[in-house]
């Protein structure tokens, strides 16, 4: 049995001369919450659009539930709930019309669950979509995405437009509930504290490439901030080997390492430097280190 609900292999996509995805490979296991991180224009939405079959792969392959979403949209989309970044719901519909309309597409639609979500989100069934605030639109979109209890829930920037209470208490609870029921949530975000709170696995996308893909606990335990003091002044310390990010000048440097403490000590000894401190890192710092780093190069120049 295929344990991966989504498999992307060497996916490439260009818009004219701009490369949006440059050989992305990604596997999302069934069950749990998968966070796709990246800055603006990193390619998160493009990956999600390929997953939904809204974009055909120019090169590489995408399989959702083992199916090609472009060739078999019904087979894949019937099992996917999707909340788009732009909350593009039809303005002319009323909420009850939106619910009735959406229900017709999904055999597994749960009317009681839809009604409970509508109450939870405080949506007036007679209200027109065009009269909803951005946050209310997000809630309406979430209702439609959730009510058929999809095997895969895809949320593109789900927190955008939601107030902190809804974001933390409702969205977080829904995501965890779905994961606890054995279903899968794939969501993109650049709100890293939120991702750190709910995601089991993450992938960091930067300039159309996957920088990191691992379990959340491995990501957090596998990165450390190391304060070093060199015996002689160092003018340039490009990230290489276990070091993925460096800041500083002269004798004192602050480095980010992707390694265990033993490897760090061995590497520091090789550099003939002294460790001042080794601190754990949060996802925010890891993300910045991963995406704001300079191109990789080898060697230390004194």
């Amino acid at each position: 049995m295929n344990q991966h609900i989504l498999e992307i292999h060497d996916l490439k996509r260009s818009y004219g001369k701009k490369v949006a995805l440059d050989g992305v490979s990604l596997s999302v296991p069934a069950g749990g919450v998968f966070g796709l991180l990246g800055g603006n224009g990193a390619g998160k939405t493009t990956v999600l659009r390929h997953t939904l079959g809204l974009l055909a792969a120019q090169s590489g392959s995408v399989r959702v539930f083992g199916l090609d979403p472009v060739a078999d949209p019904v087979g894949t989309l019937a099992r996917i709930g999707y909340l788009s970044e732009n909350r593009d719901l039809p303005d002319w519909m009323r909420i009850h019309q939106l619910i009735s309309y959406s229900q017709a597409f999904y055999p597994n639609w749960d009317p009681d669950y839809a009604e409970s979500l509508r109450n939870l989100f405080e949506l007036d069934p007679k209200a027109f979509v065009r009269s909803l605030s951005r946050g209310q639109r997000a809630r309406a979109g979430l209702l439609v995405a959730l009510a058929h209890r999809p095997d895969l829930l895809i949320l593109d920037e789900p927190s955008s437009g939601l107030d902190p209470v809804v974001r933390r208490d409702i969205l977080g609870a829904i995501i965890r509930t779905i994961a606890d029921e054995g279903r899968t949530v794939l969501f993109s975000s650049h709100l890293l504290d939120e991702v750190e709170r709910v995601a089991d696995r993450i992938a960091i996308l930067h300039q159309g490439r996957i920088q990191l893909c691992a379990r959340m606990d491995q990501v957090l335990s596998g990165h450390s901030r190391v304060q070093l003091r060199f015996s002689s002044a160092v003018s340039h310390f490009p990230p290489a080997g276990i070091w993925i990010h460096s800041e500083g000048s002269g004798h004192d440097w602050s480095l980010v390492a992707e390694a265990g403490i033993e490897n760090i000590r061995a590497e520091v000894a090789r550099l003939r430097a002294e460790i001042l401190s080794v601190e754990p890192m949060n996802l925010d710092d890891i993300f910045v280190a991963r995406t704001a780093g300079k191109p990789l190069a080898a060697g230390v120049r004194a």
Partner: protein, 535 residues
């Protein structure tokens, strides 16, 4: 550094915005210009080819009057599109006056200039002596009125009655410049009198005042309120919207979506065109036979409205500017082939409603004609005219639908560009070469177009068959339909209604190509939808 150099003046901003407008919209403006000029040039060209273009004929005054309106409206629409909504300027450091002037002055000048240039081109091409200034200034005035009312009323329910009233008054005045209001125009508007200038100046000053008031209100969100109309509109909407809906399946739900959003467009266009025809008839020649004739002609012109309706129906995007399928629709688990079929069914339903409206009005006028005791029909009854009108409207609507269904605005631009390019070439050939060559060129290019359409239909069916979007027996049925239609056209030709010789085969090729479009959408719609869905 001089600190003032960091603060651009409002006029510098205005210049930048205007340059940006022309940079963004030059294609639309060009297409609008050539497109608006195309119908008059085609008709005048046809008249000349038949030797019916007589400069001294009084009917030419009506033709001139009508063409000026067509060109003004056609180009005015593209200028409005290019100018954009004034709200985009509200957050810039510009005064209300500057915003209004940016919106209105260049657009109005463009409309005036375009009308003058277009009339001049017709004068040169067809050796006419039509006056340039009067109608051009009048259209500038009408355009400024349009813009100022749009600015004041925006999306208010009062817009239509207020604008309609103002435009009706202005149109009556323009009509009075060509002779009595309630009859055919009797003379050209050759001299713009001081009184005319005063009218222009007064109307433009009023437009300025209305526009200023509108921008002042809109800029602080204080839009025109129409509580009674809103209440009525909500009451009606609540009455219909409260009905609980249960859809049996996805196709039924999507059909409801398509019909509610876009299905009524074509019937509404027909509903708007019919009374417009009646009003125009009232102000030109109020004999009942002419109204019958106008409605009969309108039946053929339904194809143009149908194409617009089809383009709108095929738009699966979020707006007119973005026709790519929206994620909301793109993520619906509905197979492409049934989806495309329900789109065609919606188009057909829309077409039926539009045709029924037209037929009802036509029959009503015919009954009125009988009651009035009119002596003879202006044109004898021809059996295939009614199915011909419906077929023409169907092909136009579904062709527009398929083009727009691809979700690529470029396709529409290419189509418009090809049409404009052909038209300009025809105009040049018409003015630079002998009449026989010009006619041969026109009919040869049209027959070539027929062959392209035929090939396009074959390609669509071949591709759809290869991708298993249609079945072999459906292809056979489509082939039989096209063969029957072409045979019927051939039989009609055999009755001797077309000129003999070389042009007969050209006409036949053109008509065969157009007839093949009757089955084109059944293969092209799923292909277009599939390409829009996964780009």
């Amino acid at each position: 550094m001089n600190p003032t150099s960091l603060d651009p003046s409002p006029w510098k901003i205005a210049r930048v915005l205007l340059a940006d407008m022309f940079h963004r919209s030059w294609i639309i403006l060009t297409l609008g210009f050539v497109g608006a000029l195309s119908l008059p040039v085609l008709i005048l060209g046809a008249l000349r080819a038949k030797g019916a273009l007589i400069v001294e004929d009084p009917a030419m005054i009506l033709i001139h009057f009508t063409f000026a309106q067509i060109m003004g409206m056609g180009f005015g629409a593209s200028v409005l599109h290019g100018a954009g909504a004034p709200s985009r300027l509200f957050t810039l450091p510009l005064t209300n006056r500057t915003i209004l002037l940016i919106q209105m002055v260049p657009a109005t000048l463009l409309v005036i200039g375009q009308t003058m240039v277009s009339i001049w081109i017709q004068n040169v091409l067809f050796k006419l002596y039509w006056p340039l200034l009067g109608n051009a200034l009048a259209f500038g005035m009408i355009f400024a009125t349009f813009q100022s009312f749009m600015t004041l009323f925006q999306k208010s329910a009062l817009l239509l009655p207020a604008l309609g009233g103002a435009l009706a008054l202005e149109s009556l005045w323009v009509k009075s410049r060509h002779g009595p209001i309630f009859s055919l125009p009797t003379h050209y508007w050759t001299t713009v009198s001081p009184l005319d200038w005063m009218v222009f100046a007064t109307v433009l000053a009023l437009c300025y005042a209305i526009g200023m008031h509108g921008i002042a209100r809109a800029r602080c969100g204080n839009e025109i309120q129409t509580r009674l109309l809103d209440y009525l509109s909500n009451a009606i909407s609540n009455f219909f919207g409260k009905k609980p809906m249960v859809f049996q399946n996805a196709v039924q739900a999507q059909s409801w979506y398509e019909w509610n959003l876009k299905g009524l467009v074509f019937p509404i266009i027909v509903l708007m065109v019919v009374p417009t025809t009646a009003v125009l008839w009232l102000f030109t020649d109020n004999t009942i036979n002419d109204l019958v004739e106008a409605l009969r002609l309108e039946g053929w012109m339904m194809s143009a409205a149908a194409m617009i309706g089809g383009i709108i129906m095929g738009n699966m995007g979020l707006s007119d500017a973005s026709m790519a399928m929206s994620p909301f629709l793109g993520t619906k688990p509905l197979a492409t082939v049934p989806w495309s079929r329900l789109l065609l069914a919606t188009a057909f339903r829309s077409l039926v409603w539009g045709v029924l409206i037209w037929v009802a009005v036509y029959l009503l006028v015919l009954a009125g004609r009988e009651l009035a005791g009119a002596s003879h029909m202006p044109e004898p009854f021809v059996w295939w005219h009614m199915p011909g009108r419906i077929l023409a409207a169907w092909t136009a609507m579904t062709f527009g639908l398929c083009i727009s269904l691809t979700g690529n605005l470029l396709h529409l631009k290419i189509l418009g560009g090809l049409y404009c390019g052909w038209l300009v070439t025809v105009m040049l050939v018409g003015s630079l070469t002998p009449a026989w060559f010009s006619e041969l060129f026109t009919i040869s290019t049209l027959s070539g177009c027929g062959m392209v359409l035929f090939s396009l239909t074959l390609w669509a069916w071949g591709s759809a068959l290869r991708r298993r979007m249609v079945e072999g027996r459906q292809a056979i049925l489509a082939g039989m339909v096209v063969t029957t239609l072409v045979a019927m056209a051939g039989w009609q030709w055999a009755q001797g209604t077309t000129p003999p010789g070389a042009t007969r085969i050209h006409h036949f090729l053109l008509v065969s190509g157009v007839l093949s479009l009757a089955v084109f959408p059944f293969a092209a719609a799923p292909l277009a939808l599939a390409s829009n869905r996964a780009r």
